[in-house]
């Protein structure tokens, strides 16, 4: 007797059994609608928590006078586009380097040494084990003195920041590529192209890459989204990137940071929409977690 009404309990036991069986038919429906109500409540509360900070930021950014000044001011600031462009370029280079490393590796592991897969998977998980702040600590202390003083020059620092981002991108890229490779018959494609006389380079470039296009693009958008907002690594390597710019703005201006935060949120959203659009077209899925 779990869901009987309070008054029923005082009835004679036999009557109670009868009542219970006769009440059994309508009861499930009421229970389902009650639980549905509860799930609606959960969903609405969750949605509120998601949306309120965005609304708060929007409301704050619109307080600037005249209307929309926070946005026009932000965009008019030459630093805005300069840092955004810097982060974007760094992001694109990161994606290219990451693809050039990950695709041949994942392909080779899949084709020749499948038993290495756990090891490779572990290596691609390393960025989770070594948080960005530790990674950049290691990089700065290693490369800021002889024999390889990279942080002394702009170029050296750019190399460092790109290599750090490439490392950060490994988990996303590898997962995306691995999912993509799973969807195609690597073995047959390799044998077919080799029997047609293609070398390894040609095989990778003309057969494997095109087949992985969707997976690569979704990995690329995710990496871009992460790199554009990244703060920790960029700031300790003193790079003129978008993340440090927002942080600086947050300390100096009133309304503009709200506007730029929303713009940055919009960029992340754009990347995710691209990924889910791509996901509909083929393999590849939304990946998780970025630089905090």
């Amino acid at each position: 007797m779990t869901f009987g009404g309070g008054g029923v309990n005082t009835l004679h036991p036999e009557l109670e059994v009868m009542l219970e069986s006769s009440a059994a038919a309508p009861r499930p429906r009421r229970r389902i609608s009650l639980s549905r109500l509860w799930w609606w409540l959960v969903f609405i509360l969750g949605a509120l928590y998601f949306i309120l900070p965005l609304v708060g930021t929007l409301a704050f950014s619109l307080r600037a006078q005249p209307f929309g000044a926070a946005y026009t001011n932000s965009i008019a600031d030459p630093q805005f586009f300069a840092t955004l462009r810097y982060s974007f370029v760094i992001g694109i280079i990161t994606v290219i380097v990451s693809i050039l490393i990950i695709v041949p590796t994942a392909f080779w592991v899949r084709l020749k040494v499948p038993r290495w897969r756990p090891i490779i998977e572990f290596i691609t998980l390393l960025p989770f084990v070594v948080p960005p702040v530790v990674l950049v600590f290691g990089l700065v202390t290693t490369y800021s003195r002889p024999p390889v003083p990279l942080t002394n020059t702009d170029f050296g620092s750019n190399v460092l920041v790109i290599s750090a981002y490439v490392i950060l991108s490994f988990p996303y890229m590898y997962r995306a590529v691995d999912t993509g490779l799973r969807a195609i018959d690597v073995q047959s494609l390799t044998e077919a192209s080799q029997s047609l006389g293609a070398g390894w380079l040609r095989l990778l470039w003309e057969v494997i890459f095109p087949n992985l296009r969707v997976a690569l693009l979704s990995g690329a958008f995710l990496t871009l989204a992460i790199v554009i907002g990244e703060f920790t690594i960029a700031t300790f390597l003193a790079r003129p990137a978008f993340g440090p710019y927002i942080s600086l703005l947050g300390g100096n201006k009133a309304y503009e940071p709200a506007a730029v935060s929303l713009i940055s949120f919009g960029l992340t959203w754009l990347a995710m929409i691209m990924i889910s659009l791509l996901g509909r077209a083929g393999p590849g899925r939304v990946q998780i977690a970025g630089a905090r």
């Binding site: 389902i32 639980s35 549905r36 799930w39 609606w40 959960v42 969903f43 969750g46 928590y49 998601f50 309120l52 900070p53 965005l54 609304v55 708060g56 930021t57 704050f60 572990f122 998980l125 390393l126 989770f128 084990v129 070594v130 948080p131 960005p132 702040v133 530790v134 950049v136 600590f137 290691g138 700065v140 202390t141 290693t142 989204a225 992460i226 907002g229 990244e230 703060f231 920790t232 300790f236 993340g243 927002i246 942080s247 947050g250 940071p257 709200a258 935060s261 940055s264 949120f265 992340t268 959203w269 990347a271 995710m272 889910s276 939304v286 998780i288 977690a289 970025g290 630089a291 905090r292």
Partner: protein, 261 residues
């Protein structure tokens, strides 16, 4: 990647003059650093557990709670965005919302006459950090746990109902035992996720004493500049994260048993 790691290990055993020492690790026991680690671990635990519970409920609501399927797609996309929306912009968004002059702060005063700042609330505090971290914690939970909830097959529920199990019994003996490894694994991942976070806390509450900020300060040489201690701090974080990921992959292997079919 490997060179800096090796350097880190070696460096953590050197003092400022380059001599071998374990003093850096001994320094980890000092009040300042111990406190930093404890606070970090506490924040990570709280946000991981709260995030896991909320994320699970939310994922379950849209998958099996009888809500229209549109909401499921919306939640998934939004979770993808929110779990990646972190760092500086996130911290700023919360400052604008429940900071001193934020929208929600003002609304609470207007609607309920409740002044949270009068009541001692501070966004630039441990609690504040926890509230903000939850914003990327539970979307991540939604994303990780959704496949596991999807994996709960209708047949199991129907089978247990046919055998006369109540809803509570179904959860106690069927659903939870299957989901436990996934939930635990996801919680561990959330722990690591917030343990390594630096940028958000830096913008929100730079003065709160947590491990990632302490390393950052060692690096930028603000106060007690001692690279050796920085190495040891970094190693401490790596060790904790290593344990975290190890636990995660063990549980992952266990939960995949059910998901594969």
């Amino acid at each position: 990647m490997l060179i800096p790691t090796i350097y880190l290990v070696v460096g953590s055993f050197r003092d400022n003059a380059g001599e071998f020492t374990v003093q850096n690790y001994a320094d980890l026991g000092s009040d300042l650093t111990r406190q930093a680690y404890l606070t970090s671990i506490e924040i990570s635990l709280v946000t991981a557990i709260a995030g896991a519970i909320l994320g699970f409920l939310l994922a379950f609501a849209v998958i099996s709670g009888g809500l229209p399927p549109v909401f499921r797609g919306a939640l998934m996309t939004f979770s993808g965005v929110a779990s990646n929306f972190a760092g500086i912009p996130l911290a700023l968004a919360f400052i604008f919302t429940i900071g001193r002059t934020g929208l929600v702060t003002a609304l609470l005063v207007d609607l309920f006459g409740l002044n949270i700042y009068g009541a001692g609330f501070k966004l630039f505090s441990k609690l504040g950090i926890e509230i903000v971290y939850l914003y990327f914690q539970f979307p991540l939970m939604v994303l990780i746990i959704a496949p596991a909830i999807d994996g709960l097959r209708r047949d199991w529920r129907e089978a247990s109902e046919n055998m006369g199990a109540s809803s509570a019994q179904y959860w106690r003996y069927v659903a939870l035992p299957i989901l436990t490894p996934s939930i635990l694994g996801a919680t561990i991942l959330l722990f690591g996720n917030s343990f390594g976070a630096q940028a958000t806390a830096f913008q929100l509450a730079p003065l709160v004493n947590i491990a990632p900020l302490l390393i950052g300060r060692q690096l930028s040489g603000d106060v007690l500049h001692n690279p050796g201690l920085g190495y040891a701090l970094a190693m401490g974080m790596v060790v904790i994260m290593g344990i975290t990921i190890l636990g995660y992959s063990l549980l992952q292997r266990r939960s995949e048993r059910w998901l594969r079919r």
